[in-house]
């Protein structure tokens, strides 16, 4: 038995949002009488951080601390329409809708503050800490809370805003495939290092080095979590997972996690990530949504690394020990391609 090391590369781009548009998202923002803000959505937080990202976007846009913003979502009676959390559309579509709603609410808030301070709303700025100042005269100030109280009880004004983001549905040419698909793309490149056991056919991934371009990391911790977890999922797809191991034959389909193989959390390999940020012009603060795409480059990178290690091209996923061993057998032994 011997272990053969190999490395493989792959790079990809990934379209953000429902491909042909026609997928609106709405958001409503209003202030409470004590100057906190509610963002009302019907987008689903799958654990990916929908609520966190929209909360940060709302806070940034209104100009208040993130602690003063709450996100209420996933109730069809209170939340306005949203197409759903899929197609990497959450951050992009819902984020844009939240920006629009938050801008409108901010406008009303500044008007209310202007009335209290007896200045023009255009002369006001927020400090991000819950205060509204007259530009160039930091002494003339009012808190967001005082502004909200004044708007509610003295001025009779609702500090609120409505937002929607919609890229209208577009057509596809039947003969040429001409279309106006999604508006922005995320990018990634990965290098996978692994070793292959030429006796058992088992592949062990040793390390991943990667660069992911995400427009802007709206929340760097959540980006990190997505990228590490998503890359792990890509490795799992490459090496282990399928509901039909002998596709297209339907036999031997797994029915539980004893049969459906996935590596455990303890097998998450070391992953050194570089995050690049090239903001997309139509994305909220440029952010593109890293969730879906981060798994994709791992599949081919693993396949390319296996070839590099033992000279076996596994063009059919998953790359099971059986396929690796059969390939080695046909080749008359492992053929390391150098590296």
């Amino acid at each position: 038995m011997s272990l053969h090391k190999g490395r493989g590369f792959a790079c990809i781009n990934y379209p953000i949002g429902m491909n042909l548009g026609g997928d609106p998202s709405q958001a409503l923002v209003h202030s409470t009488p004590d100057g906190k803000f509610m963002v009302t959505l019907s987008a689903i937080d799958l654990g990916q951080g929908m609520k966190s990202v929209t909360r940060q976007i709302a806070a940034e846009t209104i100009g208040v601390p993130v602690e003063d913003v709450y996100v209420d979502t996933a109730d069809s009676d209170t939340g306005p329409h949203d197409m759903g959390s899929f197609a990497s559309r959450g951050t992009h579509r819902v984020g844009n809708a939240v920006i629009q709603a938050a801008k409108e609410a901010r406008g009303v808030m500044l008007e209310a503050a202007a009335e209290e301070l007896e200045v023009n709303a255009g002369d006001l700025e927020t400090d991000g800490h819950g205060n509204i100042h007259v530009k160039g005269a930091p002494g003339r100030t009012i808190t967001v809370e005082q502004t909200a109280i004044a708007a509610q009880f003295r001025q009779g004004r609702t500090i609120s805003g409505r937002g929607i983001f919609l890229i209208p549905m577009s057509d596809v040419d039947p003969d040429t495939g001409e279309m106006t698909p999604v508006s922005c793309f995320a990018h990634a490149a990965v290098v996978v290092d692994l070793q292959v056991d030429d006796e058992t056919g088992e592949v062990e991934v040793l390390e991943v080095n990667s660069a992911y371009e995400v427009g802007r990391a709206l929340n760097p911790k959540m980006v990190e979590q997505q990228l590490i977890g998503g890359a792990w999922m890509g490795i799992s797809h490459a090496l282990y997972e399928t509901t039909e191991p002998y596709y297209p034959n339907r036999d031997h389909g797994p029915t539980d996690f004893n049969q459906y193989l996935m590596p455990g959390a303890g097998q998450v390999v070391n992953h050194n990530i570089a995050v690049l940020e090239r903001p997309a012009e139509d994305a909220p603060f440029g952010g593109k949504g890293p969730g879906e795409m981060c798994a994709n480059p791992l599949l081919p990178a693993v396949a390319n690394a296996v070839y590099n290690a033992v000279g076996v091209r596994c063009d059919t996923l998953p790359i099971t020990p059986e396929k690796v061993l059969r390939g080695i057998l046909v080749n008359g032994g492992a053929q390391n391609r150098g590296g």
């Binding site: 026609g22 996100v71 495939g177 760097p220 570089a274």
Partner: protein, 616 residues
């Protein structure tokens, strides 16, 4: 240990980093509920008198249903209601009807002909899950087993069994014209003839389970205001609401859908099969009904990422520039459409990957087979073709003896390039990602590749739409009569269409992909120049290429396979503290019974069956 760095030095002039909240590692508001196990999921909404729904499922890949006998089951203990296919008010739907894409082709409960193992036929609503299971086992379905087809290319043969009556050719109908989606850009056949090497390959994705910890499900209950509340694990609240309203022929305003904490989605929770049956069960029984998959159903009946088969043929010059790329793709949709037809549109818009190739053609088929329908999953429509493209790129690199990273950088798309779907590329960053990943992995690339940029070298000639050869092979139904080549046709006519036939659309706030220049909006005969015609859009080759051996870190085979030979050498075996009281799923809060499990709530709108949630 894993590590992360933020390369703020790159694209710094395109970013304003002076922001207050964006870019901060803010902790999620609902973290305390998650880490203490108190965030409520759909399944935590325990209603007094909750009934359980289970389905009788087909044991066959393909069979006509002669008769369904429920007599024995009806009198079994705990059985409250048996729901037959005819009890579903509007028993035919397709998911993307909500955006007007495709024809209704799938029944919620199938009473005529089952087309995959596990297809639901009859639903039983009983007091306990066990009683529902037992009653399902007692229902006798008399089948007339039919021949089935499981392979995508066999399903396209003239004599193949018809899987889905709505699409009798076993393919989704594109534009009421073709049995596949075409992409045509330039003249791939001509470019193949001019290429120094041809590299071909075939790639096969496997069906993959989304594998959420929480299986799909919903709990519905009648409320006292003539409405139904539905707690669901859906990824798309209004998608599920709209689908339920259509199948049950009931105004959506009569339903109150509440989602929220989801135990993993990954695309597997958009199909909206549970909400309609749960609400229907509640409507027919007047009691709360829960319907969820068990793990076996989640894995074998729940829709997976569909398998895809891709064939790629590249024509390349010996310096590594790819001058033509042809795709033939087969998406295994399973028995019904769900989302596969749309995935193909998305996939087609993605071709030929993140590279600028002057001649691209593609035929992609959405094929019906007698297996579990496929649906969305992380990377929807892209994962499979990216696997294929990137494996293929390594074969191309080996064929011309190039460092695979350098090959990609050489062919990478750049700002201003024309994409095959005829829109201009912008905001590109593939080259930079490749450079940074190589650097992190100590995989050396030559200085000229390290110096390349997505911002430079694009556009100009590379922004042109070439004269394009089109064909009308593969009209809907033509394959029924004789087997037709599935690859893009080898002959066609020069397109007489203007280069931009699809009206570009604008977003409400910002613009989408920028539109192709319309300068050649009439067919221009000399778009392809006389000299090295097919390669004209390719960037100049870096001067030193060819003399420099690939770096030691990745030694390439010195001998290239002869032109035209497939390169495949091995056989293809088959800062603020979290606020506790702000969790989103508030809607259950307002009503708190003083006596648990008491019935008869008087408050308008409240369910008479609410009895609190688990874990309180």
């Amino acid at each position: 240990m894993s590590s992360i760095e933020f390369r703020k030095d790159l694209f710094a002039d395109e970013r304003d980093d002076a922001l207050n909240e964006i870019g901060k590692p803010t902790i999620r508001q609902d973290i305390l509920g998650h880490v203490t196990g108190r965030s409520p999921y759909f399944d935590d909404h325990l209603f007094d008198g909750l009934l359980h729904l289970r389905c009788v499922r087909s044991p066959h890949h393909h069979a006509r249903i002669r008769a369904i006998n429920t007599r024995a089951a009806q009198s079994m203990p705990g059985v409250v209601r048996i729901i037959m296919p005819q009890d579903v008010p509007n028993n035919l739907n397709t998911l993307l009807a909500l955006i007007g894409f495709g024809k209704d082709d799938e029944a919620l409960l199938q009473g005529n002909k089952v087309a995959y193992q596990g297809e639901a036929i009859v639903a039983v609503v009983a007091e306990t899950e066990l009683q529902a299971r037992n009653a399902c086992n007692a229902i006798q379905v008399d089948y007339d087993v039919l021949p089935h087809v499981l392979d995508v290319e066999e399903a396209l043969l003239p004599n193949a069994p018809v899987v889905n009556e709505t699409y009798p050719n076993n393919t989704f109908d594109y534009h009421e014209l073709y049995d596949h989606q075409k992409l045509r850009f330039g003249d791939t056949q001509k470019a193949f003839a001019e290429a120094d090497h041809i590299v071909e390959g075939q790639y096969q994705m496997s069906p993959i389970e989304q594998a959420p910890t929480e299986t799909c499900g919903a709990i519905a209950a009648p409320e006292t205001n003539d409405r139904y509340v539905c707690y669901t694990s859906t990824q798309a609240l209004f998608f599920s609401l709209g689908t339920t309203a259509k199948l049950l022929d009931m105004p959506s305003s009569r339903m109150h859908f509440i989602g929220g904490t989801v135990g993993g989605g990954f695309g597997g929770k958009v199909d909206s099969l549970h909400e309609p049956l749960a609400v229907l069960g509640a409507r027919l029984t007047g009691r709360p009904v829960k319907y969820s998959y068990d793990r076996a159903e989640e894995m074998q009946v729940g829709a997976p990422r569909g398998a895809e088969r891709w064939r790629i043929k590249d024509g390349l010059l010996s310096d590594g520039r790819i001058i033509a790329r042809q795709f033939t793709g087969f998406f295994d949709s399973g028995a019904y459409t769900r989302l596969s037809s749309y995935a193909i549109i998305k996939g087609t818009g993605h071709l030929p990957g993140p590279y600028t190739i002057p001649n691209v053609s593609s035929n992609v088929y959405c094929v019906y087979t007698n297996r579990t329908p496929a649906t969305a999953m992380r990377g929807f429509g892209i994962t499979g073709v990216d696997f294929s493209i990137e494996c293929h790129m390594d074969k191309v690199a080996e064929t011309v003896g190039m460092n695979p990273i350098e090959l990609r950088i050489l062919n990478a798309y750049r700002d201003g390039d024309m994409k095959a779907h005829r829109r201009t590329a912008k905001n590109c960053a593939l080259i930079e990602c490749a450079q940074v990943a190589a650097q992190k992995a100590n995989w050396s690339i030559e200085p000229q590749y390290a110096a390349m940029s997505s911002l430079q070298g694009g556009g100009a000639e590379r922004a042109q739409i070439p004269q394009t050869v089109i064909d009308d092979v593969g009209k809907i139904g033509a394959r029924k009569h004789n087997a037709i080549e599935t690859d893009p046709a080898t002959n066609g006519t020069i397109s007489s269409k203007p280069s931009s036939t699809v009206t570009p659309v604008h977003a409400t706030q910002a613009m989408g992909d920028s539109v192709a220049p319309v300068s050649n909006s009439a067919p221009v005969a000399n778009v392809i120049a006389a000299t090295s015609p097919a390669a004209m859009n390719v960037p100049a080759v870096p001067a030193t290429h060819g003399q420099t051996p690939p770096p030691q870190t990745f030694t390439q085979s010195a001998t290239s396979p002869p032109a035209g030979a497939p390169s495949s050498q091995a056989p293809r075996p088959s800062p603020a503290p979290p606020v506790v009281s702000t969790d989103a799923p508030k809607p259950v809060e307002p009503y708190r019974p003083q006596q648990p499990f008491s019935r008869g709530v008087k408050r308008p709108g409240a369910s008479p069956f609410v009895s609190g949630t688990r874990r309180r």
